[in-house]
Symmetry: C2
């Protein structure tokens, strides 16, 4: 037995426990009965402790040394690098803290959901304060010498990324977004709106057909409902969730398309290495590039509307739109809204930017939870020119902080930048992509992504994967240029 194969077995066990933790989360969101919440915390905590135990075990460090001494191939070298990362993070965070965090965030999610339903931030604030306190402790433990606590959290989702680099990215985006938003607001042209009867069952049936068309393997996944849709799992078991609103079939469709982007990535990992770190998804930013590419660059294209429109009218009869072109305009309506997940492409990154700055302040201690709602509302008014009507449409709208996700939000915008960069390359290499999409053919797109992104796993750094796939360095300018092009035409901007 080589050390490399022993290491692969060990990391396979660790990966399996991480999938179990993911399954507990999926179950909690989609299947678990109400009263199960009280004991689920202990279950999540016990699995987190088992993961922590494996990751912090000195044997893992020894296996890494031994595997490295064998002169490892790229796969094993990558496993060694990632195992060292996990080991460092696990040994820096005490098991008791990791376990408490898992237990508290598991319970916090239910409390958040109830507080959001009641539009009552005060009902969630003490719990969130507890989560923030634990995350500050965790971040302080994780931070390398000279590294800020918040950067230590970011690094968990986006290896090598920093708040400083992200702040630069946001700064590069901001003028263009603000300018574009202002010019569209001046035009003040209301987009067409859907009207009709949008029953639950045909919405889900349409979601399923879209999954089929995009290349989602239904024998390796399933679709369920969740308050805040997400994708969970890896390779042969990748589950997506969506939401259904009788007033808003597009909400269902684009939630589904977004999660399908994530799911196609996970289903498309290299099966030879997918169940150890080397073959896992590169980073959250790269993950989000896949969901955003499908949701925005593909899903909100004119060609996609041409494919979708007849399916909408077949499923729902009259939808209040006269043509695919009207659907395209409805899909790209630009308006100031309160909810990030419903935001258009122009406003979306402004939502993210604000969360990035607020959570950075929460972790540094510059902001406390008791001041969070006021800070949120003030910042929203400043950026969007509108007063938040209630906490459910404000500070309580996202699940992330309740489950301990800090440093995660900025990867959404990073994903948008990566997606725009990839899209520019894809359209150069598949000149008739729009014709294919309009005909419901998504195979060439997936064939392009599979070897260049999905199957590379973590075998290169996130930014390198995108840069090598696209043949160009990812830049905010690609995103701004694409938005200018699309919305300039749709809104007849000068």
């Amino acid at each position: 037995v080589t050390a490399a194969s022993e290491l692969a077995d060990y990391l396979g066990r660790l990966s399996a426990l991480e999938r179990v933790a993911g399954l507990l989360g999926w179950d909690q969101e989609t299947q678990m009965p109400l009263r199960g919440a009280a004991q689920r915390g202990a279950e999540a905590g016990a699995v987190a402790a088992a993961i922590h135990g494996l990751a912090s075990d000195p044997r893992l460090a020894d296996l890494c040394d031994a595997a490295e001494a064998e002169g490892p191939d790229l796969r094993t070298a990558t496993d060694v690098r990632e195992a060292r990362r996990m080991h460092a993070r696990a040994t820096r965070v005490p098991a008791t803290l990791a376990s408490e965090l898992a237990a508290v965030t598991s319970q916090a999610q239910g409390i958040w959901a109830r507080a959001r339903a009641a539009k009552d931030f005060a009902g969630f604030a003490p719990t969130l304060a507890h989560v923030v306190l634990l995350k500050r402790s965790e971040a302080a433990c994780l931070a390398a010498p000279g590294q800020s606590p918040y950067n230590a959290l970011i690094d968990d989702f986006e290896p090598g990324m920093t708040a400083e680099a992200l702040a630069e990215m946001f700064a590069a985006l901001r003028p263009g977004l603000v300018d574009l938003r202002g010019r569209i607001a001046e035009v003040a042209r209301p987009a067409p709106q859907l009207a009709g009867t949008f029953d639950h069952a045909p919405q889900l049936a349409l979601s399923r057909r879209i999954g089929e068309a995009l290349g989602y393997d239904w024998s390796a996944g399933r679709l369920d409902l969740a308050v805040h849709p997400f994708c969970s799992g890896r390779l042969g078991d990748v589950r997506i969730t969506t939401r259904v609103d009788a007033e808003d079939p597009l909400g269902n469709i684009y939630s589904t398309v977004h999660e399908l982007g994530h799911a196609l990535y996970e289903q498309g990992l290299d099966p030879e290495i997918a169940l150890t770190p080397a073959g896992a998804a590169a980073s959250m930013g790269v993950h989000e590039s896949q969901s955003r590419l499908y949701e925005n660059q593909i899903g909100r294209s004119r060609a996609f509307a041409q494919w979708l429109y007849p399916q909408l009218t077949e499923a729902f009869g009259d939808v209040g739109l006269a043509s695919a072109e009207e659907l395209h305009r409805a899909n790209n309506a630009v308006a100031t809204g309160f909810i990030r997940t419903e935001a258009d492409e122009v406003h979306y990154n402004l939502h993210v930017m604000m969360r990035f700055e607020l959570e950075r302040a929460l972790i540094s201690g510059a902001l406390e939870v008791e001041g969070l709602e006021a800070a949120w509302n003030a910042r929203f008014l400043e950026d969007f020119g509108a007063a938040v009507p209630d906490a459910a449409q404000g500070v309580l709208q996202d699940v992330h902080w309740s489950v301990g996700l800090f440093g995660y939000f900025p990867t959404y915008t990073l994903g948008n930048v990566y997606a725009a960069t990839l899209d520019a390359a894809i359209r150069a290499e598949i000149p008739d992509l729009d014709e294919q999409v309009a005909a419901g053919e998504f195979g060439a797109l997936l064939d392009w992504l599979r070897p260049r992104v999905h199957r590379r796993g973590k075998l290169a750094a996130p930014e390198t994967i995108i840069a090598e796939a696209a043949g160009r360095k990812p830049e905010p300018a690609f995103l701004i240029a694409a938005l200018e092009r699309k919305f300039g035409e749709l809104y007849d901007l000068g």
Copy 2:
């Protein structure tokens, strides 16, 4: 911090991981996509290894010593006893064997399901042979000096029980069952049969209404479909499964009632101690006594038919039965059938007896898997006077062996004996039970069971709990007497 509370924390973590293992099983049976099976083996194996790690850790033995030195109360003394049991079992079985068993049985289940669908025992035999080999190794590791390997397996489900005692129980049952069965066969009176249209949705709706009436807490559970129905979970998250057959609504109803009996037990544990061993269900035999009591003594009573009949006709219209009395006769039709789970109360224990003897021989090595199908078919012909038509109706019908459950089957009959013993006591203490059941009132029954059985957990030995609850020692004679009474009347036996 007392050693008792440290022990409780430790055992709480162990119990949480066991619930996670249970959830993986539930998910696999009810939710998991087909292609997830390949990686689920590693997930189940990793959780089993984590459980094994906690159970075998010398710290657990130290905690037991320390807790015992404190002069423990009954709860802690019980936790200590059970912790020592788990520790002994875990240290006797190597982690690699435990993990291989979990991985192999997880995969075996899918292979079994496909072989059953194809009625092809040969497609399952090599896998089952692998499982048997591993179980023999496990049993050999577990057996205490002088204990047979099979007894070591039985002890896991029914502490203190032996194959010898079970053989005695079966021997006491056999003449009465064979005699009763012979007399009923001579009468040769066909029972009324249901006829009608039994759609999926109203079957499930009726299952839900029955759950509601029996006292199942829907906020602490849910109902799903499974090939082989089971109940999973504890206290605040106890999930039941059922099957739906458009030809056979009674199959759905009695599967549901059976699993509800299990679920009421798990939901009714003492919440103060339910999440450590002290408060967990006493044994599989006691568990089965609860499901059997609800399924047979209550569910197949005339009073239950009086309550059920109008609900059946409301749900399905004409069901081909003229009265509640005809439904009662349909519920108690006695006939030689091939499938254990569809067997009547007279034949059921003959099915179990045969599995008990076959698996006892498989574990001892007196029988090999290659000879199992022939042995099954020969034994079936001998006991039931009928030739097994195919493997799906024979040796492949049960999931148990595929998932490594050996020593489990006999607890079904033990449960029947316990249930008959409890029933005799309940009817003496609640003289109007039949009137209550006929009116759909099941509260007094549950109130009787909760303190006497459910809330006692493992605080006394299984047989002691039944004996103290019933005020009499459990005996096969109670079962035979009740069957004679019911079927003597229904079939006008002399």
